[in-house]
Symmetry: C2
Subunit: 321 residues, 2 copies
Protein backbone atom coordinates (compact mmCIF):
# COMPACT_ATOMS: atom_id res chain seq x y z
CA UNK A 1 0.00 0.00 0.00
CA UNK A 2 1.19 3.50 -0.82
CA UNK A 3 1.53 5.86 2.13
CA UNK A 4 0.74 9.49 1.36
CA UNK A 5 2.17 11.97 3.84
CA UNK A 6 1.41 15.68 3.89
CA UNK A 7 3.69 18.58 4.80
CA UNK A 8 2.54 18.97 8.41
CA UNK A 9 2.84 15.24 9.10
CA UNK A 10 6.33 15.13 7.59
CA UNK A 11 7.49 18.10 9.67
CA UNK A 12 6.47 16.23 12.81
CA UNK A 13 8.12 12.99 11.69
CA UNK A 14 11.46 14.31 10.44
CA UNK A 15 12.82 17.23 12.42
CA UNK A 16 16.32 18.67 12.21
CA UNK A 17 18.21 16.61 14.77
CA UNK A 18 21.47 14.72 15.29
CA UNK A 19 19.94 11.36 14.31
CA UNK A 20 19.96 12.53 10.71
CA UNK A 21 23.73 13.01 10.66
CA UNK A 22 24.77 9.34 10.31
CA UNK A 23 21.94 8.78 7.82
CA UNK A 24 23.21 11.49 5.49
CA UNK A 25 26.86 10.57 6.17
CA UNK A 26 26.15 7.02 5.01
CA UNK A 27 24.56 8.41 1.87
CA UNK A 28 27.69 10.41 1.04
CA UNK A 29 29.89 7.38 1.71
CA UNK A 30 27.80 5.21 -0.62
CA UNK A 31 28.14 7.88 -3.30
CA UNK A 32 31.91 8.15 -3.02
CA UNK A 33 32.36 4.38 -2.85
CA UNK A 34 30.53 4.01 -6.15
CA UNK A 35 27.61 2.13 -4.60
CA UNK A 36 25.08 4.68 -5.83
CA UNK A 37 23.55 5.05 -9.28
CA UNK A 38 22.79 8.74 -9.79
CA UNK A 39 21.66 9.85 -13.24
CA UNK A 40 22.31 13.49 -14.15
CA UNK A 41 19.77 15.98 -12.77
CA UNK A 42 16.77 16.54 -15.05
CA UNK A 43 15.90 20.20 -15.37
CA UNK A 44 12.87 21.90 -16.92
CA UNK A 45 12.97 25.68 -17.26
CA UNK A 46 9.88 27.86 -17.53
CA UNK A 47 11.45 31.25 -18.19
CA UNK A 48 8.11 33.09 -18.70
CA UNK A 49 7.40 32.65 -15.00
CA UNK A 50 10.98 32.57 -13.74
CA UNK A 51 10.39 28.96 -12.77
CA UNK A 52 12.25 25.68 -12.85
CA UNK A 53 11.70 22.05 -11.95
CA UNK A 54 14.61 19.77 -11.05
CA UNK A 55 14.43 16.01 -10.71
CA UNK A 56 17.04 14.08 -8.76
CA UNK A 57 17.27 10.40 -7.98
CA UNK A 58 19.70 7.85 -6.63
CA UNK A 59 19.59 4.13 -6.13
CA UNK A 60 21.98 2.95 -3.43
CA UNK A 61 22.95 -0.66 -4.03
CA UNK A 62 21.62 -3.02 -1.39
CA UNK A 63 18.89 -0.69 -0.09
CA UNK A 64 15.30 -1.87 -0.44
CA UNK A 65 13.95 1.47 -1.67
CA UNK A 66 14.98 4.53 -3.67
CA UNK A 67 13.53 8.02 -4.03
CA UNK A 68 12.85 10.34 -6.92
CA UNK A 69 12.70 13.96 -5.82
CA UNK A 70 11.04 16.80 -7.71
CA UNK A 71 12.04 20.30 -6.59
CA UNK A 72 10.33 23.39 -7.93
CA UNK A 73 11.69 26.94 -7.76
CA UNK A 74 9.35 29.73 -8.94
CA UNK A 75 11.04 32.98 -8.19
CA UNK A 76 8.10 35.31 -8.91
CA UNK A 77 6.11 33.60 -6.13
CA UNK A 78 7.21 35.83 -3.22
CA UNK A 79 5.68 38.85 -5.02
CA UNK A 80 2.27 37.13 -4.78
CA UNK A 81 2.78 35.91 -1.24
CA UNK A 82 3.81 32.33 -2.04
CA UNK A 83 7.08 30.58 -1.16
CA UNK A 84 9.45 30.23 -4.10
CA UNK A 85 10.28 26.59 -3.33
CA UNK A 86 8.04 23.59 -3.54
CA UNK A 87 8.44 19.91 -4.16
CA UNK A 88 7.76 16.32 -3.29
CA UNK A 89 9.57 13.00 -2.97
CA UNK A 90 8.37 9.61 -4.10
CA UNK A 91 9.74 6.41 -2.62
CA UNK A 92 9.81 3.18 -4.65
CA UNK A 93 10.58 -0.43 -3.78
CA UNK A 94 13.96 -1.34 -5.28
CA UNK A 95 12.92 -4.90 -6.15
CA UNK A 96 9.49 -4.34 -7.71
CA UNK A 97 9.19 -0.60 -8.45
CA UNK A 98 6.08 -0.52 -6.23
CA UNK A 99 5.16 2.92 -4.93
CA UNK A 100 5.89 2.88 -1.20
CA UNK A 101 5.25 6.54 -0.35
CA UNK A 102 4.40 9.94 -1.75
CA UNK A 103 5.92 12.58 0.52
CA UNK A 104 4.19 15.91 -0.16
CA UNK A 105 6.85 17.78 1.80
CA UNK A 106 6.76 21.05 -0.21
CA UNK A 107 10.55 20.99 -0.25
CA UNK A 108 10.89 20.60 3.54
CA UNK A 109 12.94 17.39 3.37
CA UNK A 110 15.31 18.98 0.87
CA UNK A 111 15.80 21.88 3.28
CA UNK A 112 16.58 19.46 6.10
CA UNK A 113 18.93 17.16 4.21
CA UNK A 114 20.78 20.21 2.83
CA UNK A 115 21.23 21.65 6.32
CA UNK A 116 22.47 18.30 7.63
CA UNK A 117 24.99 18.12 4.76
CA UNK A 118 26.31 21.50 5.96
CA UNK A 119 26.64 20.18 9.51
CA UNK A 120 28.51 17.13 8.17
CA UNK A 121 30.89 19.36 6.22
CA UNK A 122 31.79 21.35 9.35
CA UNK A 123 31.92 18.23 11.51
CA UNK A 124 34.58 16.66 9.30
CA UNK A 125 36.47 19.72 8.06
CA UNK A 126 36.33 22.57 10.58
CA UNK A 127 38.55 22.85 13.64
CA UNK A 128 36.97 21.47 16.81
CA UNK A 129 37.26 24.71 18.80
CA UNK A 130 35.18 27.38 17.15
CA UNK A 131 34.02 30.62 18.77
CA UNK A 132 32.63 32.58 15.85
CA UNK A 133 30.54 31.38 12.96
CA UNK A 134 29.52 33.56 10.02
CA UNK A 135 26.36 33.13 8.00
CA UNK A 136 26.01 34.85 4.64
CA UNK A 137 22.39 35.16 3.57
CA UNK A 138 19.24 35.38 5.66
CA UNK A 139 16.85 32.92 3.97
CA UNK A 140 15.57 29.54 5.06
CA UNK A 141 18.95 27.83 4.63
CA UNK A 142 20.67 30.60 6.59
CA UNK A 143 18.44 29.57 9.51
CA UNK A 144 18.70 25.83 9.07
CA UNK A 145 22.45 25.74 8.38
CA UNK A 146 23.13 27.55 11.66
CA UNK A 147 20.75 25.30 13.59
CA UNK A 148 22.38 22.22 12.03
CA UNK A 149 25.88 23.52 12.77
CA UNK A 150 24.97 23.68 16.47
CA UNK A 151 24.60 19.88 16.36
CA UNK A 152 28.34 19.50 15.67
CA UNK A 153 30.09 22.63 17.02
CA UNK A 154 29.45 25.02 19.94
CA UNK A 155 30.22 28.57 18.80
CA UNK A 156 29.39 31.46 21.13
CA UNK A 157 28.86 34.09 18.45
CA UNK A 158 27.10 34.19 15.10
CA UNK A 159 27.95 36.97 12.66
CA UNK A 160 25.32 37.57 10.01
CA UNK A 161 25.49 39.40 6.72
CA UNK A 162 22.50 39.86 4.43
CA UNK A 163 22.08 42.07 1.39
CA UNK A 164 18.94 43.60 2.95
CA UNK A 165 19.46 45.11 6.41
CA UNK A 166 15.80 44.90 7.41
CA UNK A 167 15.60 41.21 6.56
CA UNK A 168 18.88 40.63 8.39
CA UNK A 169 17.43 42.14 11.57
CA UNK A 170 14.30 40.00 11.23
CA UNK A 171 16.52 36.93 10.78
CA UNK A 172 18.54 37.74 13.90
CA UNK A 173 15.41 38.33 15.99
CA UNK A 174 13.95 35.00 14.85
CA UNK A 175 17.18 33.09 15.52
CA UNK A 176 17.67 34.60 18.98
CA UNK A 177 14.50 32.76 19.98
CA UNK A 178 15.86 29.48 18.68
CA UNK A 179 19.52 29.43 19.69
CA UNK A 180 21.33 30.43 22.82
CA UNK A 181 24.27 32.28 21.23
CA UNK A 182 25.12 35.93 20.61
CA UNK A 183 24.14 37.45 17.28
CA UNK A 184 25.90 40.28 15.49
CA UNK A 185 24.95 41.98 12.25
CA UNK A 186 27.95 42.62 9.98
CA UNK A 187 28.18 45.68 7.76
CA UNK A 188 30.10 43.82 5.10
CA UNK A 189 31.42 40.38 4.25
CA UNK A 190 35.05 41.37 4.77
CA UNK A 191 34.25 42.13 8.42
CA UNK A 192 32.49 38.76 8.74
CA UNK A 193 35.52 36.94 7.28
CA UNK A 194 37.87 38.72 9.70
CA UNK A 195 35.88 37.51 12.69
CA UNK A 196 34.76 33.98 11.86
CA UNK A 197 36.39 30.55 11.84
CA UNK A 198 33.49 28.86 10.09
CA UNK A 199 31.59 30.60 7.30
CA UNK A 200 28.52 29.23 5.58
CA UNK A 201 27.32 30.87 2.38
CA UNK A 202 23.62 30.30 1.65
CA UNK A 203 22.75 32.67 -1.22
CA UNK A 204 21.75 32.37 -4.90
CA UNK A 205 24.45 34.96 -5.72
CA UNK A 206 25.71 35.20 -9.29
CA UNK A 207 28.86 37.08 -8.25
CA UNK A 208 31.49 35.90 -5.76
CA UNK A 209 30.81 37.14 -2.22
CA UNK A 210 34.02 36.04 -0.45
CA UNK A 211 37.32 37.26 -1.86
CA UNK A 212 40.46 35.19 -1.84
CA UNK A 213 42.37 37.88 0.11
CA UNK A 214 39.88 37.61 3.00
CA UNK A 215 40.78 34.00 3.81
CA UNK A 216 42.30 33.40 7.25
CA UNK A 217 44.38 30.51 8.54
CA UNK A 218 42.27 27.76 10.10
CA UNK A 219 39.09 28.89 8.41
CA UNK A 220 36.45 26.51 7.11
CA UNK A 221 33.94 27.61 4.47
CA UNK A 222 30.86 25.68 3.38
CA UNK A 223 29.39 27.08 0.16
CA UNK A 224 25.93 25.59 -0.26
CA UNK A 225 24.14 28.21 -2.36
CA UNK A 226 25.24 27.23 -5.84
CA UNK A 227 23.23 24.51 -7.54
CA UNK A 228 23.23 25.92 -11.07
CA UNK A 229 25.81 26.97 -13.66
CA UNK A 230 25.32 30.72 -13.16
CA UNK A 231 25.46 30.74 -9.35
CA UNK A 232 28.75 31.61 -7.66
CA UNK A 233 29.48 32.53 -4.03
CA UNK A 234 33.27 32.17 -3.75
CA UNK A 235 36.09 33.93 -5.56
CA UNK A 236 37.26 31.11 -7.87
CA UNK A 237 40.87 31.66 -6.70
CA UNK A 238 39.82 30.30 -3.30
CA UNK A 239 39.44 26.80 -4.77
CA UNK A 240 43.14 26.86 -5.61
CA UNK A 241 44.50 28.75 -2.61
CA UNK A 242 42.71 26.77 0.10
CA UNK A 243 44.50 23.73 1.53
CA UNK A 244 41.61 21.36 0.98
CA UNK A 245 38.69 21.68 -1.43
CA UNK A 246 35.96 19.05 -0.91
CA UNK A 247 33.03 18.59 -3.31
CA UNK A 248 29.88 16.68 -2.35
CA UNK A 249 29.98 15.06 -5.81
CA UNK A 250 32.72 16.21 -8.11
CA UNK A 251 30.98 15.25 -11.35
CA UNK A 252 28.36 17.80 -10.26
CA UNK A 253 30.55 20.57 -8.80
CA UNK A 254 32.55 20.41 -12.06
CA UNK A 255 29.50 21.80 -13.83
CA UNK A 256 27.26 23.40 -11.17
CA UNK A 257 29.27 24.31 -8.12
CA UNK A 258 32.03 26.71 -7.08
CA UNK A 259 34.60 24.44 -8.72
CA UNK A 260 32.87 25.02 -12.06
CA UNK A 261 33.86 28.71 -12.04
CA UNK A 262 37.47 27.93 -11.10
CA UNK A 263 37.68 25.47 -13.99
CA UNK A 264 36.03 27.93 -16.39
CA UNK A 265 38.54 30.62 -15.45
CA UNK A 266 41.36 28.05 -15.84
CA UNK A 267 42.42 28.52 -12.24
CA UNK A 268 41.97 24.80 -11.60
CA UNK A 269 42.68 22.10 -14.18
CA UNK A 270 39.47 20.43 -15.34
CA UNK A 271 40.99 16.98 -14.89
CA UNK A 272 42.10 17.53 -11.30
CA UNK A 273 40.49 14.98 -8.99
CA UNK A 274 39.48 16.04 -5.47
CA UNK A 275 38.50 13.86 -2.52
CA UNK A 276 34.74 13.92 -2.06
CA UNK A 277 32.95 14.50 1.23
CA UNK A 278 32.04 10.80 1.44
CA UNK A 279 35.71 9.79 1.16
CA UNK A 280 36.65 12.06 4.06
CA UNK A 281 33.76 10.80 6.19
CA UNK A 282 35.00 7.27 5.59
CA UNK A 283 38.67 8.10 6.10
CA UNK A 284 39.15 11.18 8.33
CA UNK A 285 42.92 11.10 7.67
CA UNK A 286 42.15 12.59 4.27
CA UNK A 287 40.60 15.70 5.86
CA UNK A 288 42.12 18.70 7.63
CA UNK A 289 45.83 18.13 8.33
CA UNK A 290 46.63 21.06 10.66
CA UNK A 291 44.81 23.68 12.69
CA UNK A 292 45.96 26.29 10.18
CA UNK A 293 44.54 24.60 7.10
CA UNK A 294 41.91 26.46 5.15
CA UNK A 295 39.14 24.06 4.08
CA UNK A 296 36.26 24.57 1.66
CA UNK A 297 33.25 22.32 1.11
CA UNK A 298 31.19 22.78 -2.06
CA UNK A 299 27.64 21.46 -1.70
CA UNK A 300 25.45 21.20 -4.78
CA UNK A 301 22.97 18.66 -3.41
CA UNK A 302 22.84 15.01 -4.41
CA UNK A 303 20.17 12.41 -5.04
CA UNK A 304 21.64 10.09 -2.39
CA UNK A 305 20.67 12.63 0.27
CA UNK A 306 17.11 12.58 -1.06
CA UNK A 307 16.92 8.80 -1.08
CA UNK A 308 18.34 8.71 2.46
CA UNK A 309 15.94 11.25 3.97
CA UNK A 310 12.90 9.87 2.14
CA UNK A 311 13.69 6.35 3.39
CA UNK A 312 14.18 7.67 6.93
CA UNK A 313 10.85 9.54 6.89
CA UNK A 314 9.05 6.49 5.54
CA UNK A 315 10.60 4.27 8.23
CA UNK A 316 9.46 6.59 11.04
CA UNK A 317 5.97 6.87 9.53
CA UNK A 318 5.77 3.10 9.22
CA UNK A 319 6.92 2.47 12.79
CA UNK A 320 4.24 4.89 14.02
CA UNK A 321 1.38 3.08 12.30
CA UNK B 1 -5.27 22.19 -3.03
CA UNK B 2 -3.61 19.08 -4.40
CA UNK B 3 -5.96 16.45 -5.81
CA UNK B 4 -4.83 12.87 -5.31
CA UNK B 5 -6.42 10.36 -7.66
CA UNK B 6 -6.04 6.60 -7.41
CA UNK B 7 -5.87 4.04 -10.18
CA UNK B 8 -9.53 2.99 -10.10
CA UNK B 9 -10.73 6.61 -10.12
CA UNK B 10 -8.44 7.47 -13.04
CA UNK B 11 -9.65 4.50 -15.08
CA UNK B 12 -13.20 5.76 -14.72
CA UNK B 13 -12.28 9.34 -15.60
CA UNK B 14 -10.04 8.75 -18.61
CA UNK B 15 -11.09 5.87 -20.80
CA UNK B 16 -9.77 5.06 -24.26
CA UNK B 17 -12.10 7.08 -26.51
CA UNK B 18 -12.10 9.38 -29.52
CA UNK B 19 -12.11 12.54 -27.38
CA UNK B 20 -8.48 11.87 -26.58
CA UNK B 21 -7.40 12.02 -30.22
CA UNK B 22 -7.44 15.82 -30.67
CA UNK B 23 -5.87 16.24 -27.22
CA UNK B 24 -2.86 14.09 -28.12
CA UNK B 25 -2.77 15.51 -31.68
CA UNK B 26 -2.42 19.01 -30.25
CA UNK B 27 0.41 17.79 -28.04
CA UNK B 28 2.33 16.45 -31.07
CA UNK B 29 1.71 19.69 -32.97
CA UNK B 30 3.06 21.78 -30.07
CA UNK B 31 6.14 19.56 -30.01
CA UNK B 32 6.85 19.89 -33.72
CA UNK B 33 6.18 23.63 -33.71
CA UNK B 34 8.83 24.10 -31.03
CA UNK B 35 6.30 25.26 -28.42
CA UNK B 36 7.27 22.51 -26.01
CA UNK B 37 10.24 22.32 -23.68
CA UNK B 38 11.15 18.65 -23.27
CA UNK B 39 14.36 17.82 -21.40
CA UNK B 40 15.98 14.48 -22.23
CA UNK B 41 14.46 11.45 -20.49
CA UNK B 42 15.98 10.70 -17.08
CA UNK B 43 16.68 7.02 -16.63
CA UNK B 44 17.69 5.05 -13.56
CA UNK B 45 18.67 1.41 -14.03
CA UNK B 46 18.52 -1.20 -11.28
CA UNK B 47 20.09 -4.17 -13.05
CA UNK B 48 20.07 -6.44 -9.94
CA UNK B 49 16.29 -6.61 -10.20
CA UNK B 50 15.95 -6.11 -13.95
CA UNK B 51 14.28 -2.79 -13.19
CA UNK B 52 14.28 0.74 -14.54
CA UNK B 53 12.68 4.08 -13.79
CA UNK B 54 12.16 6.68 -16.52
CA UNK B 55 11.17 10.27 -15.95
CA UNK B 56 9.64 12.36 -18.73
CA UNK B 57 8.33 15.89 -18.69
CA UNK B 58 7.22 18.61 -21.06
CA UNK B 59 6.11 22.18 -20.62
CA UNK B 60 3.93 23.38 -23.48
CA UNK B 61 4.14 27.15 -23.78
CA UNK B 62 0.90 28.90 -22.93
CA UNK B 63 -0.63 26.01 -20.97
CA UNK B 64 -1.37 26.61 -17.30
CA UNK B 65 0.02 23.27 -16.11
CA UNK B 66 2.69 20.71 -16.93
CA UNK B 67 3.25 17.10 -15.90
CA UNK B 68 6.22 15.08 -14.75
CA UNK B 69 5.73 11.39 -15.36
CA UNK B 70 7.60 8.56 -13.65
CA UNK B 71 7.36 5.17 -15.33
CA UNK B 72 8.72 2.02 -13.74
CA UNK B 73 9.49 -1.22 -15.52
CA UNK B 74 10.51 -4.20 -13.33
CA UNK B 75 10.73 -7.20 -15.56
CA UNK B 76 11.08 -9.88 -12.86
CA UNK B 77 7.65 -8.89 -11.49
CA UNK B 78 5.53 -11.26 -13.61
CA UNK B 79 7.37 -14.21 -12.06
CA UNK B 80 6.01 -13.15 -8.65
CA UNK B 81 2.55 -12.31 -9.94
CA UNK B 82 2.98 -8.54 -10.23
CA UNK B 83 2.65 -6.40 -13.36
CA UNK B 84 5.98 -5.29 -14.79
CA UNK B 85 4.85 -1.68 -15.33
CA UNK B 86 4.00 0.90 -12.75
CA UNK B 87 4.09 4.66 -12.48
CA UNK B 88 2.49 7.94 -11.62
CA UNK B 89 2.08 11.44 -13.02
CA UNK B 90 2.31 14.70 -11.13
CA UNK B 91 0.70 17.87 -12.45
CA UNK B 92 2.13 21.29 -11.55
CA UNK B 93 0.89 24.84 -12.06
CA UNK B 94 3.01 26.48 -14.78
CA UNK B 95 2.99 29.91 -13.09
CA UNK B 96 3.72 28.97 -9.48
CA UNK B 97 4.96 25.38 -9.46
CA UNK B 98 2.10 24.51 -7.09
CA UNK B 99 1.18 20.83 -7.00
CA UNK B 100 -2.19 20.50 -8.71
CA UNK B 101 -2.56 16.72 -8.80
CA UNK B 102 -0.87 13.43 -8.02
CA UNK B 103 -2.23 10.80 -10.42
CA UNK B 104 -1.45 7.36 -9.02
CA UNK B 105 -2.34 5.72 -12.30
CA UNK B 106 0.09 2.75 -12.08
CA UNK B 107 1.06 3.45 -15.69
CA UNK B 108 -2.53 3.40 -16.99
CA UNK B 109 -2.41 6.90 -18.49
CA UNK B 110 0.84 6.05 -20.28
CA UNK B 111 -0.85 2.99 -21.77
CA UNK B 112 -3.76 5.12 -22.97
CA UNK B 113 -1.75 8.00 -24.42
CA UNK B 114 0.53 5.51 -26.18
CA UNK B 115 -2.43 3.71 -27.74
CA UNK B 116 -3.94 7.02 -28.85
CA UNK B 117 -0.63 7.99 -30.46
CA UNK B 118 -0.86 4.77 -32.46
CA UNK B 119 -4.38 5.65 -33.57
CA UNK B 120 -3.16 9.10 -34.61
CA UNK B 121 -0.33 7.57 -36.64
CA UNK B 122 -2.75 5.35 -38.59
CA UNK B 123 -5.31 8.15 -38.92
CA UNK B 124 -2.80 10.42 -40.66
CA UNK B 125 -0.64 7.88 -42.51
CA UNK B 126 -2.60 4.74 -43.42
CA UNK B 127 -4.92 4.42 -46.39
CA UNK B 128 -8.58 5.11 -45.58
CA UNK B 129 -9.85 1.75 -46.79
CA UNK B 130 -8.34 -1.00 -44.69
CA UNK B 131 -9.61 -4.57 -44.44
CA UNK B 132 -6.83 -6.34 -42.56
CA UNK B 133 -4.81 -5.13 -39.63
CA UNK B 134 -1.87 -7.03 -38.14
CA UNK B 135 -0.83 -6.89 -34.53
CA UNK B 136 2.58 -8.18 -33.50
CA UNK B 137 2.76 -8.94 -29.80
CA UNK B 138 0.02 -9.96 -27.37
CA UNK B 139 0.62 -7.74 -24.34
CA UNK B 140 -1.31 -4.76 -22.97
CA UNK B 141 -0.34 -2.47 -25.88
CA UNK B 142 -1.31 -5.17 -28.39
CA UNK B 143 -4.83 -4.91 -26.93
CA UNK B 144 -4.99 -1.14 -26.59
CA UNK B 145 -3.41 -0.36 -29.97
CA UNK B 146 -6.05 -2.44 -31.73
CA UNK B 147 -8.88 -0.88 -29.70
CA UNK B 148 -7.51 2.61 -30.45
CA UNK B 149 -7.12 1.82 -34.15
CA UNK B 150 -10.85 1.02 -34.30
CA UNK B 151 -11.49 4.69 -33.45
CA UNK B 152 -9.96 5.76 -36.78
CA UNK B 153 -10.27 2.81 -39.21
CA UNK B 154 -12.82 0.00 -39.69
CA UNK B 155 -10.94 -3.18 -40.57
CA UNK B 156 -12.87 -6.46 -40.75
CA UNK B 157 -10.00 -8.78 -39.86
CA UNK B 158 -7.24 -8.73 -37.29
CA UNK B 159 -4.22 -10.99 -37.78
CA UNK B 160 -2.24 -11.67 -34.64
CA UNK B 161 1.26 -12.99 -34.12
CA UNK B 162 2.78 -13.62 -30.72
CA UNK B 163 5.94 -15.47 -29.77
CA UNK B 164 3.92 -17.68 -27.39
CA UNK B 165 1.02 -19.52 -29.02
CA UNK B 166 -0.89 -20.05 -25.78
CA UNK B 167 -0.75 -16.37 -24.89
CA UNK B 168 -1.77 -15.48 -28.43
CA UNK B 169 -4.91 -17.62 -28.10
CA UNK B 170 -5.72 -15.99 -24.76
CA UNK B 171 -5.26 -12.57 -26.36
CA UNK B 172 -7.60 -13.44 -29.24
CA UNK B 173 -10.27 -14.80 -26.89
CA UNK B 174 -10.12 -11.65 -24.79
CA UNK B 175 -10.27 -9.33 -27.80
CA UNK B 176 -13.19 -11.17 -29.38
CA UNK B 177 -15.25 -10.04 -26.40
CA UNK B 178 -14.23 -6.43 -26.93
CA UNK B 179 -14.28 -5.93 -30.70
CA UNK B 180 -16.66 -7.03 -33.40
CA UNK B 181 -14.10 -8.14 -36.00
CA UNK B 182 -12.68 -11.48 -37.11
CA UNK B 183 -9.48 -12.68 -35.46
CA UNK B 184 -6.85 -14.92 -37.02
CA UNK B 185 -3.73 -16.32 -35.44
CA UNK B 186 -0.70 -16.16 -37.77
CA UNK B 187 1.97 -18.82 -37.77
CA UNK B 188 4.68 -16.36 -38.63
CA UNK B 189 5.23 -12.67 -39.25
CA UNK B 190 5.78 -13.09 -42.97
CA UNK B 191 2.24 -14.44 -43.31
CA UNK B 192 0.94 -11.49 -41.29
CA UNK B 193 2.77 -9.03 -43.55
CA UNK B 194 1.35 -10.70 -46.68
CA UNK B 195 -2.19 -10.23 -45.44
CA UNK B 196 -2.28 -6.84 -43.70
CA UNK B 197 -2.44 -3.21 -44.82
CA UNK B 198 -1.78 -1.81 -41.36
CA UNK B 199 0.71 -3.46 -39.01
CA UNK B 200 1.35 -2.41 -35.44
CA UNK B 201 4.39 -3.79 -33.62
CA UNK B 202 4.08 -3.75 -29.84
CA UNK B 203 6.98 -5.82 -28.53
CA UNK B 204 10.18 -5.23 -26.53
CA UNK B 205 12.09 -7.20 -29.21
CA UNK B 206 15.85 -6.77 -29.48
CA UNK B 207 15.96 -8.23 -33.01
CA UNK B 208 14.04 -6.96 -36.05
CA UNK B 209 10.70 -8.74 -36.52
CA UNK B 210 9.63 -7.37 -39.91
CA UNK B 211 12.00 -7.86 -42.83
CA UNK B 212 12.40 -5.30 -45.57
CA UNK B 213 11.48 -7.86 -48.26
CA UNK B 214 8.06 -8.40 -46.65
CA UNK B 215 6.91 -4.82 -47.27
CA UNK B 216 3.90 -4.44 -49.57
CA UNK B 217 2.68 -1.44 -51.56
CA UNK B 218 0.22 0.70 -49.61
CA UNK B 219 1.24 -0.71 -46.24
CA UNK B 220 1.41 1.36 -43.09
CA UNK B 221 3.50 0.22 -40.11
CA UNK B 222 3.44 1.73 -36.64
CA UNK B 223 6.38 0.54 -34.54
CA UNK B 224 5.66 1.47 -30.93
CA UNK B 225 7.65 -1.09 -28.97
CA UNK B 226 11.09 0.50 -28.97
CA UNK B 227 11.75 3.04 -26.26
CA UNK B 228 15.37 2.12 -25.48
CA UNK B 229 18.65 1.85 -27.38
CA UNK B 230 18.68 -1.94 -27.50
CA UNK B 231 15.09 -2.45 -28.67
CA UNK B 232 14.44 -2.97 -32.37
CA UNK B 233 11.32 -4.22 -34.19
CA UNK B 234 11.93 -3.28 -37.83
CA UNK B 235 14.66 -4.30 -40.24
CA UNK B 236 16.68 -1.05 -40.39
CA UNK B 237 16.56 -1.15 -44.22
CA UNK B 238 12.81 -0.43 -43.96
CA UNK B 239 13.53 3.12 -42.75
CA UNK B 240 15.27 3.77 -46.07
CA UNK B 241 13.06 1.76 -48.42
CA UNK B 242 9.69 3.05 -47.19
CA UNK B 243 8.25 6.13 -48.91
CA UNK B 244 7.66 8.05 -45.70
CA UNK B 245 9.30 7.58 -42.31
CA UNK B 246 7.68 9.62 -39.52
CA UNK B 247 9.17 9.89 -36.01
CA UNK B 248 7.16 11.12 -33.02
CA UNK B 249 10.21 13.16 -31.98
CA UNK B 250 13.27 12.79 -34.12
CA UNK B 251 15.76 13.86 -31.46
CA UNK B 252 14.50 10.79 -29.58
CA UNK B 253 14.12 8.26 -32.41
CA UNK B 254 17.70 9.17 -33.41
CA UNK B 255 18.85 7.54 -30.20
CA UNK B 256 16.04 5.25 -28.97
CA UNK B 257 13.79 4.31 -31.86
CA UNK B 258 13.88 2.29 -35.06
CA UNK B 259 15.70 5.14 -36.78
CA UNK B 260 18.56 4.72 -34.30
CA UNK B 261 19.41 1.28 -35.71
CA UNK B 262 19.27 2.51 -39.31
CA UNK B 263 21.67 5.33 -38.42
CA UNK B 264 23.96 2.97 -36.50
CA UNK B 265 24.14 0.62 -39.49
CA UNK B 266 24.80 3.66 -41.77
CA UNK B 267 21.69 2.89 -43.80
CA UNK B 268 20.34 6.37 -43.09
CA UNK B 269 22.53 9.48 -42.73
CA UNK B 270 22.57 10.71 -39.15
CA UNK B 271 21.94 14.28 -40.28
CA UNK B 272 18.88 13.46 -42.38
CA UNK B 273 15.85 15.40 -41.14
CA UNK B 274 12.41 13.74 -41.25
CA UNK B 275 8.98 15.33 -40.84
CA UNK B 276 7.62 14.58 -37.38
CA UNK B 277 4.13 13.30 -36.65
CA UNK B 278 3.08 16.75 -35.37
CA UNK B 279 4.08 18.38 -38.68
CA UNK B 280 1.93 15.92 -40.64
CA UNK B 281 -1.04 16.40 -38.29
CA UNK B 282 -0.73 20.14 -38.88
CA UNK B 283 -0.17 19.85 -42.62
CA UNK B 284 -1.67 16.64 -44.08
CA UNK B 285 -0.10 17.42 -47.48
CA UNK B 286 3.19 16.28 -46.01
CA UNK B 287 1.81 12.78 -45.35
CA UNK B 288 1.01 9.86 -47.66
CA UNK B 289 1.16 10.94 -51.33
CA UNK B 290 -0.38 7.91 -53.09
CA UNK B 291 -2.32 4.77 -52.21
CA UNK B 292 0.79 2.74 -52.96
CA UNK B 293 3.10 4.56 -50.54
CA UNK B 294 4.63 2.57 -47.74
CA UNK B 295 4.57 4.60 -44.54
CA UNK B 296 6.24 3.95 -41.17
CA UNK B 297 5.62 5.72 -37.89
CA UNK B 298 8.23 5.35 -35.12
CA UNK B 299 6.76 6.00 -31.67
CA UNK B 300 9.13 6.29 -28.71
CA UNK B 301 6.79 8.18 -26.38
CA UNK B 302 7.10 11.87 -25.55
CA UNK B 303 6.60 14.04 -22.50
CA UNK B 304 4.04 16.21 -24.33
CA UNK B 305 1.67 13.22 -24.44
CA UNK B 306 2.05 12.86 -20.68
CA UNK B 307 1.41 16.51 -20.01
CA UNK B 308 -1.65 16.40 -22.31
CA UNK B 309 -3.26 13.32 -20.75
CA UNK B 310 -2.50 14.40 -17.18
CA UNK B 311 -4.09 17.81 -17.85
CA UNK B 312 -7.11 16.15 -19.42
CA UNK B 313 -7.58 13.77 -16.47
CA UNK B 314 -7.25 16.65 -14.01
CA UNK B 315 -9.80 18.72 -15.93
CA UNK B 316 -12.37 15.93 -15.88
CA UNK B 317 -11.76 15.26 -12.18
CA UNK B 318 -12.13 18.96 -11.43
CA UNK B 319 -15.35 19.31 -13.42
CA UNK B 320 -16.80 16.33 -11.48
CA UNK B 321 -16.13 17.85 -8.05
Amino acid sequence: MTIILHHEQIKKLASLNENLIPIIENAFVSLSEGRATTPPIMRLDIPEFHGEADVKTAYIKGLDSFAIKIALGFFNNPSIGLPSSNGLMILFDSKTGALKAVLLDQGYLTDIRTAIAGAIASKHLANLEVSNVGIIGVGMQAQLQLQALMLVRKPTNAFIWGRNKGKTSIYIDAMKNKLNINFHQCLNIEELCEKCEIIITTTPSKEPLIKDEWLKKGMHITAMGSDAEHKNELDPRIIKSCNLYVPDKQSQTNVLGELHHAIKKEIVDKNKKFKELGEIIKNPNLGRQTKNDITVCDLTGTGVQDTAIARHTYDIANSNI
